[in-house]
Symmetry: D2
């Protein structure tokens, strides 16, 4: 960059990113596109990206446009030219990195799920609170414009008292019995299967849009208990010990819930819903109206109002692409020009920049991450106990 030729900004938000794969890529574009599309007061600077494999992280630094790279995350945290630590690594590493970063006075953004369990999540929340830094969990779907619109519609009182939440997160990449083993199927590495990966999102959306959870009862299943180590080399029947591994996470987890506001909820996460690719669906029915969202059509929101004249009531399909009227859309294109998956990451980064610059709180924060973890854990408990379980309600000010 040759910034002198083009004017000088007084200050930057200097980021160190831990992890360079799927989430590393998504977060990198978010910082760059915040600068490009959102003109933040303090733009991001991509100071350092970190990964254990030097060759790979070096290549990523070059391709993604980071100023430097590191192979040791503690080195990143020690650097005094970095303000924000962004954690895009697997879940089992979140706790240590986040606590170290907080102790070093850095702001912390972490991928979801925040932690492997409630105990760790509490420690993380305590550390960022004690340090007084900004903290955020990357539940990016909150910043899809259609979800933002849903929030607004509900806040405007347009659906009245909520009776029902009906939410699924359906994928299908394991429906094929021949699909090979992957690290996500190992509980030691992944922490959880569909439950932690997918239910976490619809729990967060429910908390964001409707209510906290009161009690839950769930079930889960691992349909295919062993998978071949190499793709296509064996099939379900023929696998032997040397060529296959045990799947130790859930393939699907379903649960029913009673929410604090009295609404009933039905939730399902699976990787076996053939033909559903990233079908994050949430429907909310209230006394005055209903809302439906499906991530596979993420630029649309359905809304039905009982306040419309009776002969004209029906689900409206709102194309949430109006620069003037729909949040975030004035940064992008004219009406009817869709945005995609990664844009919500940019919205998140843009909001984070603003929150840091203006020293205001930002959500979802580590408390949101913890509360989500508490719901996940109550479901796990109910699966073991085969009965309803209350969701733990921590006094978050007194951890």
């Amino acid at each position: 960059m040759n910034s002198k030729k083009r004017g000088v900004f007084l200050s930057y938000l200097r980021v160190g990113l831990i992890g360079y794969k799927f989430m590393g890529k998504a977060h990198t574009q978010a910082y760059k596109n915040t600068n490009f599309y959102f003109n933040p007061k303090e733009p991001f600077q991509l100071r350092a990206i970190c990964g254990r494999n030097e060759e790979n992280v070096k290549f990523a630094a070059h391709t993604y446009g980071w100023e430097s790279y590191e192979t040791d995350w503690e080195a990143v945290i020690e650097r005094d030219d970095i303000d924000i630590i962004d954690i895009g690594t697997p879940s089992d590493t979140h706790k240590d990195i986040a606590i170290s970063a907080a102790n070093a006075g850095k702001h912390v953004l972490t991928e979801k799920p925040m932690a492997l369990n409630v105990r760790d999540a509490k420690k993380m929340l305590k550390s960022v609170t004690d340090a007084g830094v900004q903290h955020m969990v990357s539940f990016t779907y909150r910043r899809v414009p259609a979800i933002r619109l849903a929030k607004r519609i509900i806040a405007e009182g347009r659906i009245g008292k909520v009776y029902h939440v009906r939410a699924n997160y359906l994928q299908d990449w394991l429906a094929d019995p021949q699909a090979p083993f992957a690290w996500r199927l190992d509980k030691n590495v992944a922490g959880s299967g569909a439950h932690g990966d997918l239910n976490a999102h619809i729990i967060d959306l429910t908390r964001y849009l409707v209510s906290e959870f009161d009690e839950v009862v769930g079930m889960s299943e691992t349909f295919i208990k062993k998978r071949s180590i190499e793709a296509g080399s064996t099939n379900e029947e023929k696998t032997n010990d040397s060529a296959s591994r045990d799947v130790t996470v859930d393939d699907a987890t379903l649960f029913l819930a009673r929410l604090d506001n009295g609404a009933l909820g039905s939730f399902e996460a699976t990787r076996y819903a053939t033909g559903r690719k990233n079908n994050e669906y949430i429907e909310i029915n209230g006394s005055l109206g209903s809302i439906v969202f499906n991530f596979e059509r993420m630029n649309e929101l359905q809304f039905l109002s009982k306040e419309d004249e009776p002969h004209l009531q029906g689900y409206r399909n709102i194309l949430v692409t109006e620069p003037e009227y729909h949040e975030y859309m004035d940064a992008w294109w004219p009406p009817g020009h869709l945005i995609g998956y990664e844009h919500a990451f940019t919205h998140q980064a843009s909001d984070l920049a603003q929150a840091i610059t203006q020293q205001q709180p930002i959500y979802p924060n580590f408390e949101d991450g913890l509360r989500c973890q508490q719901v996940l854990e109550a479901v796990d408990n109910s699966i073991k106990s085969r009965t309803w379980e209350k969701v733990e309600k921590t006094n978050y000010l007194n951890l």
Copy 2:
């Protein structure tokens, strides 16, 4: 009728119908339209319709085209010019009428739910089995052509091993707190609320298309516990004892299930899903494909096949209106000309006529009705026990 002028048929199926309201109307048109559209070997004769209010039943007999009317159901059963007793009255009357009819050697068709409880359903099944008459429960949705096609697709092995069933039956006529009290909200009369009325249908479809049920866990709620007796005269807050009545049935019942074939199921029935009018939805995900049906678009079936080439896979929206290829449709109109709600009643009547004429079994029969009742009751038990309950498995040959 001036049948001599137009030729003589050797024999008829002579029907006595108990009940003349919603279901009486639907069943009457079914008999007439079977004769009109399906040319059965033995057409139906509309011998007698029965109701307690003489003025009303007389008017119904005239308008609907019944040859005579009765005000006492036992009189209908005693008549020797009647072969089939069709029960379209509220659930609490089914048992007595059905058993009497069977004892009199009549074939019996009853509306659903078959009985108020498992105990009664067993007695009914025993009586028709002992009498050797034809017996049928009016789960008409089995005879929607799109459901027939779903059955065929599954039977052809096109979706492989089933992993998931996701079924809802959503209505909204109680979402308005001002909606007045109705007899359906009185447990003594109705037996059950959304559970018996709506879950019964999606349980039956699941049994028909996928598998028997193994175990269940459920929840239910009555959101509005009192309703005004006269429509619009009072509101939720102002109701007093003289002007309102307790709602004694469930407004909504949800449950999770494990099916005998290992699939996981999620079920929900509610009358509070604002904007959903008669949204009976069932989605089935298998290892090779998926199927989706929604009664609000009852002429369509969605089907996804993993056997399609990978770049071409997607949910097909099949318009199930091809006279040549879709069951029942050759009796109606050219392709793309939709049929409606009542047509499934006609299909049912037509199949019943054929079964009686050919002395072959017909489904869903009283055993199907009983099995549905057993699932309903297991859910009720789980709501009380707050834990999973096994679904009773009767030895149906040895009641």
Copy 3:
């Protein structure tokens, strides 16, 4: 019928139906269902059905429930126990039957297209006007509840000034080159192909909902010029004179139009739109809103209002099944219970009964039929002249 037992009505509307095939069946059910569902003051009596083949018409009379049959349409018209002549025969017969019926003082309902050409249509209009009888053309789609709702929305001013009409009627039964010759492909019998059969409907809907036509320019094509006489026996390449016949009607006709109100219109009828079965589509865009209807989802109407708040605008999908709020639906089932193709025929018959009983005009009448014919003919002229043609505007009071 044993009407004495059930009370006596003072008078009936006594029908004679010419034609017993597709339309004969659809019209018969309309009369019966009007009596069954709509309780008309003067119910229909099915006096006589007429066809040239005695065996067939006798069977139809029996199956459909007509009191008698005739093999000569003039005999029907001569009968003094008949009030209404219903013409369900091919187009080339409409003129003579209608004029005879009018001269005999009968009310006349005719299938569409009303006539083979404008000249004949004018004669027919003159004869019914002179005779002072009721006259109606069976453009049944006007009586689909969703179209009724569209009319109401427009009449309420909700879409403002209309800019665009975009209408297609797409079928696909000729897309297969192997499909055999049929009488509909012979101009001498059918009069016209897709144009008269399908464009007639969307022209009528446009006239009903929006405006008369000012001028048009069109094109048409017969893609496959010869078809084998027997199905499957030959293919396109191998046909020889003895085994194939020339197709003498249009397979597809498209045209552009300028309407009297200044709106622009695009129209297309084809039997070659693979996968479209009965896709009658009309979209209307106005300054304040838009409307979309598709007959393949005939129970739904889409409506967008610019008077909704800007962040909430979107096409509403109205399920047009509310007994309280949507025309005709109180005669049928509860909300969300669909109706089908033939129901619009029943609505038409019910309205005809009421118009005759109350001696009020009914639409679409023979003037509507003539105006539609004038648009069809202007398009034909423009195809020949390869330029824009004005639509003839008759002084209908001075034929």
Copy 4:
């Protein structure tokens, strides 16, 4: 950039971009994202951006990340550190810039429509052909993955012989009579209205997917002939000469076409289709199948195959997001994670990079731009002549 620290690439594609507004932004992100997501052999270098207003272009250079800026497009062309001239300015400037760039031996990418008229387009084509440089017109919709899939399906012979093309490009930003005057409504600046802006796209898609055009007949309208100069300050009726300006372009243009392959086409472009935001719709019906695309759901493609078994035929909704199976998608996210409007620009830039590096031709090139212009002009001619007009067929090798 600190490229030494991260390894050195041997060569770059060095871009000079003329224009910095909507298209400048879209093209800039395309170059950056090609480098970021597509790892081209020779990455793009953003050498210079050009605009007449120095303050604005300087800010754009900074925000977008260009190394330098210029205020005179000729200066950009003179620079010897630039390989590619990208023209993102209004249509009236394309000719001079493109010809100068070609003469200077630069590769040229221009926004659409390529030129103001056929004459200019021919000159541009001649200049790039003579110079032997790469030339491309930015019809980006060709590189939407769903359109790519449509192309593949057709190339695989899956829809057989094409009978019909039905294409609309519907927007609504002028439907409001109060919308103020804008430069796009001035023919001197914009060249054309909806026709050149929107029909250009669907003509190009039709040429790409189906066939060249043979003859056309069209109509157009300017519904609102004057608009206020300042937004909201006046209304349609009250405008006076000083406060309003004449709209000199078409609001809507429709046309019918006969294609070289014998198919019939219907085309419509409008800015008055209330509720349609960027509704670029194309439906293609062939003897073996059909395809439907709508840009408002740009990640989906509908495909119907008559080669499916008859009871299973229906429009498949293919979610075109499979990294393994759908073109370009391996550069982005996992299945079911949507992409947006700007991604097609990135695909275009990535393909351009590859074509230049490998010295292979790229499409759509200036010949495609010219052919599109010839169709547009034939429609304009037919509007004047009120009759069918042949589309000019240039011998492109002998301009």
